[in-house]
């Protein structure tokens, strides 16, 4: 099978498993919702404008925290009954496996971020300022989601066979996603009209996140085989 054929099958399989197990709906979404509500309690919007100002950052912080849970789940599915070894023996191309898992994770992140943006609007009195801003926000969610999914799959694969992977994964991954966190927050600020960032600057930040996404996905596809062998 070609790399893309493998990627399609892996992504379809992962999304089907998610649709059946409902981990995203029953665990990850409530978790990220609770995180946003806790932020809302901690930052009293009645007494200051700070909650509205920091809402974009909170959306992406909640996304990154939720991503950790999602990655553990995505690789637990492969690890629990030895499917990862079976995939290797089946000669599945590592690049296809990486891309498939990245696509599956990115689709789930897209759904998660849509909910988080709505929660930000409700809890922090933010709003998307017009059609152009909505477009910027949509592109940000897709591009940043792809970047996070790429990094998450790469580090999830790295930690999959390691002892103490539950604590190792955040330690390894969180520092790496800082550029995505900053870039996505800035462009979301532009879309929400907070933080004094204009639309032009917002698109520049999206471009930066896009470059990171290309690096993460391209590099991950190349490196994933070596990671699995180790």
């Amino acid at each position: 099978m070609s790399v893309w054929a493998v990627a399609r099958r892996i992504a379809a399989k992962d999304l089907r498993i998610e649709a059946r197990s409902r981990v995203l709906v029953n665990q990850v979404l409530p978790f990220s919702g609770v995180v946003m509500v806790l932020f809302a309690f901690a930052l009293d919007k009645a007494s200051s404008d700070i909650p509205r100002q920091v809402a974009p950052g909170l959306v992406w912080l909640a996304t990154v925290f939720s991503l950790l849970v999602m990655i553990q789940r995505v690789f637990a599915v492969e690890r629990d009954d030895g499917a990862l070894d079976a995939l290797r023996v089946a000669g599945v191309t590592p690049a296809g496996l990486f891309l498939g898992k990245t696509i599956g994770l990115a689709v789930q992140l897209l759904a998660l971020d849509l909910v988080l943006v709505v929660l930000a609007v409700i809890l922090f009195d933010t709003a998307v300022a017009g059609l152009a801003a909505a477009g910027l926000l949509a592109v940000t969610v897709v591009v940043a989601g792809t970047a996070l999914a790429g990094v998450g799959t790469l580090y999830g694969g790295l930690a999959a066979g390691a002892k103490g992977r539950d604590t190792l994964l955040p330690l390894l991954m969180l520092p790496v996603v800082v550029p995505v966190l900053i870039g996505a927050t800035r462009s979301t600020e532009a879309a929400f009209g907070t933080g004094g960032i204009g639309m032009t600057e917002g698109w520049a930040w999206v471009a930066l996140v896009g470059a990171f996404a290309a690096l993460a996905v391209g590099g991950g596809a190349l490196a994933f085989g070596a990671l699995l062998e180790e």
Binding site: M1, I17, R20, G82, G91
Partner: protein, 215 residues
């Protein structure tokens, strides 16, 4: 015809633990070879090495015509490995699991259906998520996945474990049929009476070495 497995003085390690310590084994096409030996003898490591999952540290190893010291990944499409784990996805149905693994070698829908029927997991069971099956039914499903992959070399680690009497008979029949179709089989098992009745040859593995041909 060249040997399907040709290992000479092979050394392999898992971490710092010596898994194989100079193992030598030759298996001809069409053989069903039983690997027997105590726990920790190196039977599983031998199977994983033949599957290209364990690197060769020293010695020479050729499996299905592929030199494992040069590119062990190249052998993987030609072998099928059933280890202690089944390699199944609990949230997918039996049919979806078999179809997924069959797709890796371009198996048709008919081949998938035939494998399901052959291992007794067709019909109503085919639509049941694997997570709801008994251990024996999962093992049958894993075997169906192996059948549909049309491997040249079958590597089976305790394949009878968890199967009922009917399942064991079906497994034995499936293996004999695979051999008739041109496959070669390596079995590691502690169920010596059952496996020996199936095997054309039995070898003893002790301390990471193949120490002799058992009667």
């Amino acid at each position: 015809m060249a040997d399907v497995v040709d290992l000479l003085d092979v050394v392999a390690v898992i971490g710092s633990f010596p898994a194989l310590a100079g193992a030598t084994l030759r298996v001809e096409p069409g053989e069903i070879v039983l690997l027997r030996g105590p726990n920790g003898a190196g039977k599983t490591s031998l199977l994983r090495l033949c599957a290209g999952l364990l690197p060769v540290v020293r010695g020479s190893a050729t499996v299905c015509g592929v030199d494992l010291t040069v590119d062990r990944r190249a052998v993987r499409r030609r072998v099928g490995l059933l280890g202690h784990a089944n390699g199944l996805y609990a949230d997918l149905t039996v049919a979806e699991n078999v179809a997924f693994w069959g797709a890796t070698v371009g198996a048709t829908r008919d081949e998938v259906d035939a494998a399901l029927v052959r291992l007794g997991v067709g019909g109503r069971l085919a639509g049941v998520p694997v997570g709801r099956l008994s251990a024996g039914q999962r093992r049958r499903t894993a075997l169906a996945c192996l059948v549909v992959r049309r491997a040249t070399l079958w590597l089976l680690d305790e394949p009878h474990a968890g199967l009922d009497a009917a399942g064991r008979d079906e497994l034995d029949a499936t293996l004999r049929q695979a051999v008739q179709a041109g496959a070669t089989v390596l079995i590691a098992s502690h169920e010596l009476e059952r496996a020996a009745g199936l095997a054309t040859r039995t070898v003893e593995v002790v301390g990471g070495q193949v120490v002799g041909v058992a009667p």
